[in-house]
């Protein structure tokens, strides 16, 4: 069987199916949405191959904005054009948004109660550590070269000096690209 025939054999989901799939992904995707999306789209539904999903995610990761939403838009466009993109992204966001609206209103109503404040202070401290730990883990895994480390530390310092983000990103991107190109060339 040729590759084109295999492509035709696979089910092409409609917009309603896409919406429901992403609604499920959004509601189950604690922590990282992408792992859940891959499992559902590739393993359970078989709408995409491993390779197709990886390519869509790869482009989503280069683009600005949340990877998960970019990826949902990529998947949606692939199967249903603009409306497919809307179906996937709204499906992905509907559940979490509803939940966050509830959380935000509860915070406004009860956030100042001493007991709630104590819990929230603990969660905030843990989240701070979580973000720090993520940064340390990424450095640990990447084993960056000196030029890459320099770019990273410069970004850290500029952000802490409250330099507006557009200047940080646009100013450092050329140096990051240069450092990356040097590593990949080897």
């Amino acid at each position: 069987m040729t590759l084109a025939a295999a492509e035709n054999d696979r089910e092409r989901p409609g917009n309603a199916a896409l919406f429901l799939a992403y609604l499920q992904i959004g509601l189950t995707g604690f922590g990282g949405v992408n792992a859940w999306a891959r499992q559902l789209l590739v393993e359970k539904r078989g709408w995409m191959t491993e390779q197709e999903y990886a390519e869509t995610l790869g482009v989503a990761q280069v683009l600005p904005g949340p990877n998960a939403i970019n990826c949902a838009i990529g998947v949606g466009v692939r199967f249903g054009g603009g409306f497919g993109a809307l179906a996937c992204s709204i499906g992905l966001l509907a559940g979490p948004m509803a939940l966050l609206a509830v959380i935000a209103s509860l915070y406004d109503a009860y956030g100042q109660l001493p007991l709630v404040r104590a819990v929230l202070t603990g969660i905030a401290a843990a989240a701070a550590g979580m973000v720090l730990g993520t940064a340390v883990k990424m450095v640990d895994r990447l084993r960056p070269t000196l030029p890459l480390i320099t770019v990273g530390i410069t970004a850290l310092v500029l952000a802490l000096l409250r330099v507006p983000l557009p200047f940080v990103v646009l100013g450092l991107a050329p140096f990051g690209l240069l450092a990356a190109w040097q590593v990949l060339r080897r």
Binding site: I73, A85, P96, A124, V131, V151, L165, P166
Partner: protein, 172 residues
């Protein structure tokens, strides 16, 4: 300029710059929301961001929670639209190019070259949050423990948030 328009613009400027997800735009979000506009204090900012981390869905929705806190449901709508729509339009435009981009020689350096910038920004987020959250020796202890846990173990970070909340309830 009305408050809602200010919210839309503030989060709208963040949208196309979010190259490393929510954690990488946190310093800029903090600068705009706490320092430039004075919409909330340090502690509230940190708590709302932490709550968004604990909830399911993309962490970038921290913007939505903050929008609600600033101006209610309309604020939530403005912050969410500002944060998501510009990047979404770009993603839509690029989606058709996925096949053509595959194996492109600049895609890999582009992906890789922004990583150190993103990691630096994530580290800055951690410092800003730790600065706001580390108010006493108990909270500093929680920060240190959760940093080590996330760095050294493979368990879901949600355990850290739950543990932090439980410790806060008992000790604070």
């Amino acid at each position: 300029m009305t408050l809602l328009l200010q919210i839309l613009l503030a989060f709208g400027t963040l949208s196309l710059l979010a190259i490393g997800g929510a954690n990488a735009v946190l310093p800029e979000m903090h600068r705009l929301v706490v320092e430039v506009h004075g919409w909330m204090d340090d502690a509230t900012f940190t708590q709302l961001f932490a709550l968004a981390q604990a909830a399911p869905g993309p962490n970038i929705l921290a913007a939505s929670v903050m929008g609600w806190h600033i101006a209610g449901p309309a604020g939530l709508a403005m912050a969410t639209i500002g944060m998501l729509v510009p990047a979404a339009i770009l993603a839509w435009g690029m989606a058709g190019l996925t096949h053509r981009l595959r194996g492109n020689t600049w895609l890999k350096p582009a992906q890789f070259g922004l990583v150190p910038v993103a990691v630096g920004l994530i580290a800055a987020s951690g410092v800003i949050m730790a600065n706001a959250a580390g108010t006493g020796w108990i909270t500093v202890g929680i920060i240190a423990a959760s940093t080590a846990f996330v760095w050294r173990t493979k368990y879901s970070p949600l355990w850290v948030l739950a543990g932090g909340g439980a410790l806060g309830l008992v000790l604070l």
